[in-house]
Assembly symmetry: C2
Homo-oligomer: 341 residues x 2
């Protein structure tokens, strides 16, 4: 019996988590759940964003299912202060989840929701592979005497393993994104990608793109991209930009993989304090994260595909939550999906 570490988190996190667990239970009858308070909820209850006990329990689980963390209540400017986001940083690091996968595939039924002209968004189907345990997020930093610094650090090994994840996910082309005309980490990155490509993946096309140029091309010609692989901070920015192209952030799932233990699955959207408690959050990002959990976390492709196809069908039949211009509540969207299973 696979055990899922369920971390609903803050804001709409618990609302969409409840919805997604209902859907998971409808296709996978043997899952058990172990729930922990993390993020702001962890701070309120235990004074830390995630307790050592929770980390230990999570490590012993088969997959991690996270809602969202953070909110204005726990925002602070102070260096060294406890932040809701620390739960994410610790989970990523302690579980060794160096590869964050973000598929960007706008649904036909939602093309109209995109800010982009239809002819640009039609057929977009890309995967962003973001490095998740290195770079500016984990480098040395500090503030002293009116001067602050952060360090972007990468080793050859860290670059090798993430670009391999990128190449493995690609059918024909990988776009490696860096800022090699400025950064030493990017020059090392480009060198390593070039070598790994030549030695291990010569049949995949490799192109190098500067991060600023990539930010442009994502808007001007998103269909160009198949797999984008890039470092942590660039991936954070570019994947949010790309997500928005679909016009429906509430729809998008993400998977964080790479460790020896469980992988982590969560929606792309945040805790959305503005709509918390109203029962109107779009649960589809979390439901589709559940599908990724079934596929990548538990190796259950059939059940994953069943969930994805139920979501497609429910949308085709017209169900729309508020973020998509509709009026359906979280419960109504969930019911519509369940009816297609």
């Amino acid at each position: 019996m696979p055990n899922i570490a369920l971390l609903p988190g803050d804001g709409i996190g618990p609302e969409v988590a409840t919805a997604a667990v209902e859907v998971l239970n409808a296709v996978a009858f043997d899952l058990t759940y172990d729930e922990h308070k993390v993020g702001g909820a962890g701070i309120d209850e235990y004074g830390v964003a995630i307790t050592d006990e929770a980390v230990a329990a999570v490590k012993a689980s088969d997959a991690v299912f996270l809602g969202a963390v953070g909110g204005p209540k726990w925002d602070t400017n102070e260096s060294g202060a406890v932040r809701a986001e620390d739960a994410l940083f610790r989970l990523r690091a302690d579980l060794g989840l160096y590869a964050n996968l973000r598929p960007i595939r706008p649904l036909r039924a939602l093309y109209d929701a995109s800010p982009l002209k239809r002819e640009l968004i039609e057929g977009v189907d890309m995967l962003i592979v973001r490095e998740l345990t290195g770079g500016l997020y984990y480098g040395e930093r500090g503030t002293k005497d009116g001067r602050a610094y952060d360090t972007m650090v990468y080793t050859v090994e860290e670059i090798e393993r993430i670009v391999r994840a990128g190449f493995r996910a690609a059918k024909s082309r990988v776009t490696s994104v860096d800022k090699a005309n400025v950064l030493d980490t990017s020059r090392l990155w480009r060198e390593v990608v070039t070598r790994v490509h030549a030695e291990e993946f010569p049949n995949i096309e490799l192109e190098h793109e500067l991060v600023d140029a990539c930010a442009m091309k994502l808007v001007a010609a998103p269909r160009h991209f198949e797999v984008i692989v890039t470092e942590n901070m660039f991936g954070d920015i570019l994947s949010d930009e790309a997500s928005m192209l679909t016009g429906s952030l509430g729809m998008l799932p993400t998977a964080s993989l790479g460790g020896d233990g469980p992988s982590m699955f969560e929606p792309v959207h945040g805790s959305a304090p503005d709509i918390t408690g109203q029962g109107v959050a779009n649960p589809i990002g979390m439901i589709l994260s559940g599908a990724l959990l079934l596929r990548h976390g538990l190796g259950r492709e059939d059940e994953a595909a069943a969930v994805e196809s139920a979501v497609d069908k429910a949308l085709d039949k017209g169900i729309r939550s508020r973020d998509l211009g509709g009026t359906a509540t979280t419960a109504e969207v969930t019911k519509a999906v369940l009816e297609e299973l």
Copy 2:
């Protein structure tokens, strides 16, 4: 007689520089020009992207007018190698040009060129104020034993002066962009912006936005922004993203200000090696940079406005270079602008 340091640079740089000088000469009869080879052209001629003599001459000038630098011929991955871009880094640092201003104002005649739906792009009129002499671009870096690092550094003074530039440029709202949930530099940034705002610009609205959220909002609701102020690398990425929203990178000018000596003006586009030598580059980005040079570099508002209005009129009458889906050559676009002066 104002003396302009003319740095045509590489690729289409010299082509658009020639065009823009023609236009400048038609409104400002007393300008003299002092030309220097920089970028790849500098490397080919002198072995360095910019010579000490050129730097000295530029410092003695009244304004710097730069085409574009770089190209595949001078691309290299090696740390410490000579790069065409070094000319930019040295000019920015030696002239103290800490404030890069990038106005994003899609022309009505070109709304159709935008990748965004018309209702989103109509009326967009924002200014991105990018810090240009700090952060990852100038921090300590190195590569050793398979490990590379770059340092993002900011002092209180560096942040104060750039955010002041942002507030001064705003009528009603400034969006300060950082990644305060991760970076110490961003937490210092947010602290300083908040204080400068309260003490010196209480009548301007200040909002804080995380860089990933900003990358989304630029696509989803670009009209929201009036002035965006941010650090060097975030500004590099976001301003290129925002530029592309206009659908016409070839149209956009930029000004780098802040030093005791001359300021620098250049188009947003690069050296475009793919179309170099064909006489088809769009000169309007460089021509409008000339307008910014007249305004910010020489304090000649009337002449600047005359150039800008001539460009508007020429476009209204239908002239379009290849990047805008037309067939007009560089010379034909230049002539069309000259005819409106």
